[in-house]
């Protein structure tokens, strides 16, 4: 695949930007979007930046019926030198293509998508908020568009990238959340689509999430779908625990999404000389560790919240308070380090950040 030329049509009307203190998550969108089409004859073609606008599709478009779709989520930051920074964006495109494989969607050319994203960010740069905890959330997604009611891979697709200036994912900022271990509903199972970022996984999670919220918990912690015994992940985060000095996280088993934040956290912890193990973790062993006072920290990792400390776990109607309900030391250090690197305020020894302006200039 060779990188394609991206056409640009600028918006004539500019929308009002939200004030920094009014930013919510994922409700406001910028002036432009990136779009690209796929057909069997032309492959992925016509990459273009156009004014943010509704998309028009036949009611028989396959995405509405059979959910053949994938998406990604990443963020752009404005450094205090005024540079637009991305955090490991190539990892997102790589994961998009992995999801594509699972969903029978044709792979995209990473260079074209990254170049499209960079050009889009340059055009909508003024939308990147700068206040503490804010950023520009980036949502690339692919939907199947063929108007056909047979269950089969679509012959046509659209890839879009839309941008949304966001505040903190949790209204409370980095504050410990209460998480309920889910014992009835299942999000994903080995052999299913759990390790792909596809719409159906999230649809499947709504019911449990609704029940959890009605009880005052912010998220659910999913168990494996087979034995309902082993910890998998949170709604849109991977999960880490510090048990008796050792940091552990569920091993990638086919039903967990391989988070990019998870990957970065593992790198950082190792660089700091800490022991971190990816393994199968049962909820029983977690509760047991808590009972003997060894469950020292728990935190979720994901693009939206970056690091989200868990102050309380709920399992079978019992509450287990972790670290006195306070943000743990490791969670705090990880949050500060990762957001520091993301915003260009801390040195980036892994080469994780990508400067949008300078890179695009060389293209």
């Amino acid at each position: 695949m060779t990188k394609q030329t991206i056409s640009v049509q600028l918006s004539t009307a500019k929308k009002q930007k939200p004030k920094a203190d009014q930013l919510e998550f994922g409700r406001t969108f910028t002036d432009h979007m990136f779009i690209m089409d796929y057909s069997a004859e032309s492959g992925w073609h016509d990459p273009r930046i156009i004014p943010y606008q509704p998309i028009e599709m036949d009611p028989a478009a396959m995405v509405y019926h059979y959910g053949q779709s994938v998406f990604e989520g990443l963020k752009a930051y404005l450094s205090n030198k005024g540079k637009v920074l991305l955090f490991r964006p190539e990892k997102n495109v790589e994961r998009l293509n992995k999801s594509n494989d699972r969903l029978c969607i044709p792979r995209v050319d990473p260079d074209t998508v990254l170049e499209g994203l960079k050009q889009l960010l340059q055009i909508d740069k003024e939308w990147i908020p700068t206040a503490e905890g804010t950023s520009l959330y980036i949502r690339p997604f692919i939907i199947s568009t063929e108007p056909y009611l047979g269950v089969a891979p679509s012959k046509t697709y659209k890839l879009l990238i839309i941008l949304s200036p966001v505040g903190s994912y949790y209204k409370e900022g980095i504050h410990p959340v209460k998480i309920a271990v889910e014992s009835e509903f299942v999000r994903a199972v080995a052999g299913g689509t759990g390790n792909a970022k596809t719409a159906g996984n999230y649809a499947a999670s709504l019911k449990a999430q609704e029940v959890a919220e009605s009880k005052g918990f912010s998220q659910v912690l999913w168990l494996d779908g087979i034995e309902k015994k082993y910890i998998e992940e949170v709604g849109s985060m991977n999960i880490f625990f510090k048990i008796n000095g050792e940091i552990v996280t569920p091993a990638l088993n086919g039903s967990i999404l391989e988070g990019i934040t998870r990957n970065s956290v593992i790198y950082l912890l190792k660089q700091w000389g800490l022991s971190v193990t990816e393994k199968r973790i049962s909820v029983d062993e977690l509760i047991q560790a808590h009972k003997v006072g060894q469950l020292e920290e728990a935190f979720g990792t994901g693009t939206a919240a970056v690091i989200s400390p868990v102050g309380e776990l709920i399992w079978k109607e019992e509450n287990f308070v972790i670290n006195n309900g306070k943000t743990g030391e490791i969670a705090k250090k990880l949050y500060d380090t990762i957001t520091g690197i993301q915003k260009g305020a801390l040195p980036d020894s892994f080469g994780w950040t990508v400067e949008v302006d300078s890179v695009s200039q060389t293209c």
Copy 2:
């Protein structure tokens, strides 16, 4: 919920209708569609029939990202007395509402939806094909439309009903198909969404289906997601076996869709004095029965194909030919009976068919 008044806007241009021998499945749509909106303030409102047309939605509409959607499938027939007949349509609306519950979508008023469907059918009645094996396929579906990137139930929805004149689901008509028992991929698991008719289940099935087709099999037979041992269902059909004179079908266990054809088949078989048992059936016991010559028939049941005899099962690279690859006696009798009732050619002792014209006149 009270039944609402449906407004009608007729199309000025009429599309060309396909010739009976050129009918495919789900590729051509009629001149009109039914549509209805949901908002938190107004509930389900503004039911209307309008010309078939593209729908326009914000790229952040939740269905594109989190797949919160449900659908149904049923058929209309034209009797040789010129009456439009539906087959147990109230069952489809009932199942739609069950799917809604699982997907956190607000329930619809069955009377409004059924009335909308009937009026739509009257308007597009000329589209109902009459040749052997043809019918008008009806696709009601609900999609989440709120432009919001948080994982939560949408606050707005659209329900649509679109109509497609169809030929036989399988190009070959009622001819035995080859089905591969799937041992790698999983469609659904207990606690998941398998018993709801929602997009993600079908997206999850594409990969296995693609592999099966590349090997010359028409469908896959899913096993349970937990032990990968027990028979569940086919891509869009439930499955029945005749083993040593007894008819068996997998019991509804939470991960199988409760097919309306399945339900009708069980009724008919019982009425004919045959023994039919819903139970857990392992693939091993099926293969064993085949080996001792007791697997006498296998057939799938579903709206699209009605009854689809299985002529060959493939399991672990081994082929098991059933009934010499011919349509079994029971499959044939069920097909003739059900399609006969559906078209009004046979007496309908269960009160399954609904006449559209006469019922609507009383409304």
